[in-house]
Symmetry: C2
């Protein structure tokens, strides 16, 4: 209503101006659904030189081959050309006497075409592609080729991205392959259609109407994923329900798998470890019981009858109350290998999560996954990959990299990023996560000396693993715009791009996404790109600066709750993590404390362990620091902390100011949406600053330094706030 | 996937044909969102004569007055003209020297304009409108006028409907007013964003992002409702949570009220009777306690500070476990009047539901609401209206009209219809409900002799009530198409049209909706209209023919469950309702049984009470009938029942055949959607037939008559089906 109201205030001042406005803007679509189209807007190219160039070369689409995939690729090209260059481009299976864009995999290339791309084809893998400008019949042609047809689909999306971002398409010679095998979304979707940690409506899987109703959403979901190279999806929550493995649901899963197959996307499911009891009517789920082993073998066989290319299982076992092998005195290796053996004959894999910690273990929670998993290195079957979160706690605004990376060289490790913003402002805060992802991927573990980056562990190159992968916990729901925030779409996009190539720069990703999603106008792209890049540091500053972590309110994790101390498990309480007292604040994980620093390679440990060398961004993660400690800029810790909170608030104000300036370049609806959401983010950033500083001030006993705004409410007020229906908490 | 697969089967047969097809259809939008636009598609008028006529008269839009409502009306016209007649029609506040369409309420009319519409204006009420072709400056003009600006908005939507349905717009003289005051949707939406009995995704109210984020959905929801005259919305579930009445939520409710206000839509809330205890910290909610009375008075005052035109409360009290005045030994009058007194100073109303029955009352559930409420006739405050479901049980595919209609002449009664298909196939079955609504509204209660139709009770004319209303339990959710089934949108539409004018014919409504939503081509409209009209009888036949009722499976009400007999309350069990035994089937509600027939006026009671006179459609509702009883067509009851089930299945097959024939007239996406959904409906109709006949056959001991297909599964199979996650059951 804000915008409408402002609009009508103007009326009274200047009725003639108003009529002009209505005339000008009134004919815009009131039911705008731009949001739904994600980065596949295919807006008409505004640059007239570019459009002429694009029209000249995209005269005919030629496909050789008849797979569903190649037909989808051709249809996507036709649709896109219609919008991007306002041209109905004919489709044929023969090259015309003019410019053509040719789609054919290696085996369908004529000798003449093969000859021109042989060298390039040798450089790609089974999912890669080549886009090359060649000459044929004395005309320039664009040949998109690959080993398999899926490469053609990836190729046309790459090609379209060139057009969408107004790049030149003359003399192309692009050779690209994904750096990882399994590029996968993890949907934490429940069978009742709620989404754990979902902030964009309910699940997009309509289990009630499946298998017979194929929602258009499924197809658009597959298109969007294929456009960024995502090739797998785990449909259901890691806190799993065994019913998904019954025929009633497998019929439904099959329908989704059939829909996704031509887009190169394999379906995976979570396996509830106690399924043999719950749906198999056995008395045990002991992984060493032959009866249990046989049950899983039979179950795997059954699943593959429905879905011959089923991807495999994701398992959360003996973690946060989920059943697992430890219920029977067995260990993670026993559990994972049992499932791996069941699924191996069919080519499936097991993604076994390392997110474990126990209320019975008094040791620092940050250390437990390492302590438990490192001894298992080399003991898992070949088709098991261990899925490790980026940090040792849980998807915080900032965490030092997880010490497991580099510590299990004989075991393939896959990354688990969280795209949904459980701890980063739900779907109301604009936070560009690829910046966070990049920070982790670039981190150097020193596990094989300098240059042992996490990206190299993930892509298998450091330890020579064939099975590689990156998972992202999806931020997708039934909202019209899929992700709840127009800019949250960039996190889905960016995750996919980094999964394809973990070495990409987040600035490049932001720019690509902005151009495809909004506008190629540099007056828009440059400031908004900068805003996106800064947004991640902003959320760290106003929520958890200087290495603070897990001080969100309880259960739903919405808003600040540093005072929470009454939860049943000690490590679920924020006070466990910040340990503020009269002497200072922070978790001593150095050698004088929990010694978590010793889990890193010596080069890294040395740095983290020494308060003088520890990066200030991780200071309170590794050290309990006196309020009077002098930071590098000369401020005391208390003053520095307070100023960081203020800086976060200021950064959001600066984001608002940037957004207001780019209004001319964005459609009205999305402009208004982001404007409203930034207002919320600004309010909540102040809430975080005020609540945390008032709370910590009780311990520091010091005044707020100048430059930090006075809180507008009391600590008691902030503590009184309750959000019983905050979303995602199920 | 079916359609895609079929498509690719064709390829192999005829590749050249394929390329033609791709060329022809490939450029259609793959991300189609036609569904979202509801009946406001504003497709370009295909008839060239009509478009010429429309372009000639719609040259300028002239608005006199500056309210938000009039601006919204003008903007809607501009948007619609742009699409419908491909014309950018300028907007001004002065009539031009050519044809104009003029919007102005009575007080803004010039003497010249007023003079030409004085007579008509006398015939409308505060929400009505006049659309009249007049002459001005020797040019034909279309004047839309009203008492209040909301009438202008209703007027332009009526006017646009003429264009959307390709009617003539020359010599117009339309005078129209709504026949009821309160035309209201009841959203059974919970604060956790689930929807009780919702089959179209989650709630469209995003409580988490309110009040600061105004979703485009809210605006489009308001537009859609205004276009059919709906003027009220109860935002939350009748199984209420008191938190909605706290400041935290009232802020959010206020934001919605502000959004809806210019569209003429008032916001209402459900009042949980125990709110004074739960959020007011009182020890009682006794309506005779002065403390409780004061609490509600203060609460009303508080609400009206947020929302000065708040509509009032909807209350479900002492029904299905909800708290109410009886918890304190008081009665419904005590409860309703207490709330009415609190809200009266601010102009609010109380809608008190009569949907009550008790597990402690051994009497026929169908009789209990009448028995309880009739003694209260005349005892409610003036601002109380009693909300009565169309039938005495619960929104069945068919029920005789509720005996309360006609039995409380001194009390305003409002109708409660259920638009969401709790008992009619969720959002997978195509059932056109206005046919059901019309059947109830046309029913003659004989309460003041022949001609005492329910429509006349509802519109206040029979008993001379000023406060009148119709409520519909919404079928709206977060699905892209709002209602889960393209044809379920027609039920929202038709509810609104009947609320405006309870005398409308459902055939007319179907035709209007089809033309606006799909196409004006008669080759499409006529067969599909017929299909819609028949669809209601189809669902009765394959679920509950001949007066059967409430034999759905337990809790979720999905699919057949005539065998269910283990629920804690006797009247929750299907066996309670069908009473099948060796002697026959049906609930004896005649004078030899529960004597529910005596609750109707003597003329009606006489008919229902006599098995020979009772309409066969209601036979088993009122009588326990021998399996060998001869129906009017000469068949035995058993054979007739079986043939009815088969007829229902056949009717769905016929709907499928109709739909397949109209393929050329519908966009690909919606064609496919409806095709898939009709396939599900066909499967489920057979499931219903087979399960019910196998079950009842145990009692009748008779073979299926010829013409009835053999069941493909056993009764045990049907009884074994379980749907733990069927939607809406929360």
């Amino acid at each position: 209503m804000n915008s409408i109201k402002l609009f009508f205030i103007d009326i009274h001042k200047n009725p003639i101006f108003l009529y002009g406005l209505v005339l000008l803007f009134g004919i815009q679509k009131t039911i705008a659904q731009t949001d739904y189209k994600l980065w596949l807007q295919y807006n008409k190219v505004a640059n007239s030189e570019k459009i002429t160039e694009y029209q000249a070369i995209n005269k005919n689409i030629v496909t050789i081959g008849n797979s569903e995939t190649i037909q989808i690729a051709a249809k996507e090209l036709q649709n896109a050309f219609k919008s991007l260059i306002n041209k109905t481009v004919p489709l044929s299976n023969k090259t015309a006497e003019s410019a053509n864009i040719i789609l054919a995999n290696e085996s369908n290339l004529s000798p003449e075409l093969l000859n021109q791309t042989k060298t390039e084809l040798q450089k790609i893998n089974n999912e890669g592609f080549v886009i090359k400008t060649i000459q044929l019949k004395n005309k320039p042609q664009i040949l998109i080729t690959s080993k398999k047809d899926i490469g053609l689909l990836y190729g046309i999306f790459h090609y379209l991205r060139l057009l969408q971002t107004n790049q030149s398409i003359s003399n192309l010679n692009i050779i690209d392959s994904p750096n990882t095998n399994v590029r996968i979304l993890n949907h934490w979707d429940n069978l009742n259609e709620s989404v754990e940690r979902g902030y964009a409506g309910s699940s997009i899987w309509n289990w009630q109407k499946l298998p017979d109703f194929i929602d258009q959403r499924y197809i658009d979901y597959a298109r969007a994923n294929a456009s960024i190279g995502i090739n797998g999806t785990v449909l259901n929550n890691v806190n799993a329900n065994a019913l998904i493995l019954t025929p009633q649901y497998l019929e439904k899963v099959k329908a989704l798998a059939n829909t996704f197959r031509p887009y190169g996307i394999k379906v995976y499911l979570t396996a509830r470890f106690s399924a043999p009891i719950e749906i198999g009517k056995l008395n045990t789920a002991d992984p060493l019981s032959s009866e249990v082993q046989q049950w899983w073998k039979d179950k795997a066989k059954e699943i593959y009858k429905y879905i011959p290319d089923f991807g495999g299982f994701l398992v959360k076992a003996n973690s946060e109350g989920q059943p697992g092998p430890q219920n029977y005195g067995r260990n993670h290796v026993d559990g994972a290998n049992m499932l791996a053996d069941a699924i191996a004959p069919f080519g499936g894999i097991v993604m076994w999560r390392a997110f474990v910690y126990s209320e019975h273990d008094a040791d620092d929670r940050a250390k437990q996954a390492y302590s438990e998993f490192v001894p298992y290195d080399g003991k898992f079957r070949d088709n098991v990959i261990v899925q490790v979160k980026n940090g040792a706690i849980d998807f915080q605004p900032r965490e030092p990299f997880h010490p497991l990376f580099g510590a299990m060289p004989k075991t393939p490790l896959m990354m688990e990023f969280q795209i949904t913003q459980e701890y980063l402002g739900f779907s109301t805060h604009l936070v560009f996560l690829p910046k966070l992802f990049q920070e982790t991927l670039e981190a150097d573990t020193f596990s094989k000396g300098k240059g042992s980056s996490i990206a190299k562990i993930i892509d298998g190159s450091l330890d020579n693993h064939q099975l590689t992968g990156i998972a992202g916990v999806a931020n997708i729901g039934s909202d019209l715009n899929w992700c709840g925030h127009p800019f949250a779409q960039a996190n889905w996009y960016g995750f996919g791009r980094l999964a394809w190539n973990p070495n990409l720069d987040s600035k490049t990703i932001a720019e690509e996404w902005l151009r495809m999603t909004f506008s190629n106008d540099e007056k828009f792209v440059l400031p908004v790109q900068e805003m996106m890049i800064e947004s991640r540091e902003a959320v760290v500053n106003y929520m958890t600066p200087l290495g603070l972590h897990h001080i969100m309110d309880t259960g739903h994790h919405y808003g600040p709750g540093p005072w929470v101390s009454n939860l049943s498990r000690p490590e679920w309480n924020p006070v466990y993590y910040h340990k503020a007292d009269k002497n200072g604040i922070g978790f001593d994980r150095s050698s004088t404390g929990s010694n978590a620093t010793a889990q890193y390679a010596p080069e890294v440990a040395k740095e983290f362990n020494d308060i003088a060398k520890c990066p200030e961004k991780d200071l309170l993660w590794f050290h309990h620091v006196s309020w009077d400690y002098k930071l590098k800029n000369g401020a005391t810790l208390w003053n520095g902390l307070a100023l960081k909170y203020q800086e976060g608030v200021n950064q959001v104000a600066s984001m608002q100011s940037t957004w207001n300036k780019i209004k001319p370049y964005v459609d009205e609806q999305r402009f208004n949406e982001v404007e409203m959401l930034l207002n919320i983010q600004q309010k909540e950033a102040k809430w975080w600053r005020d609540a945390c500083l008032l709370y910590f001030q009780q311990f520091s006993g010091k005044d707020l330094p100048s430059g930090v705004e006075k809180p507008t409410q009391t600590l008691e007020y902030f503590k009184s706030l309750k959000f019983p229906f905050a979303p995602g908490n199920n």
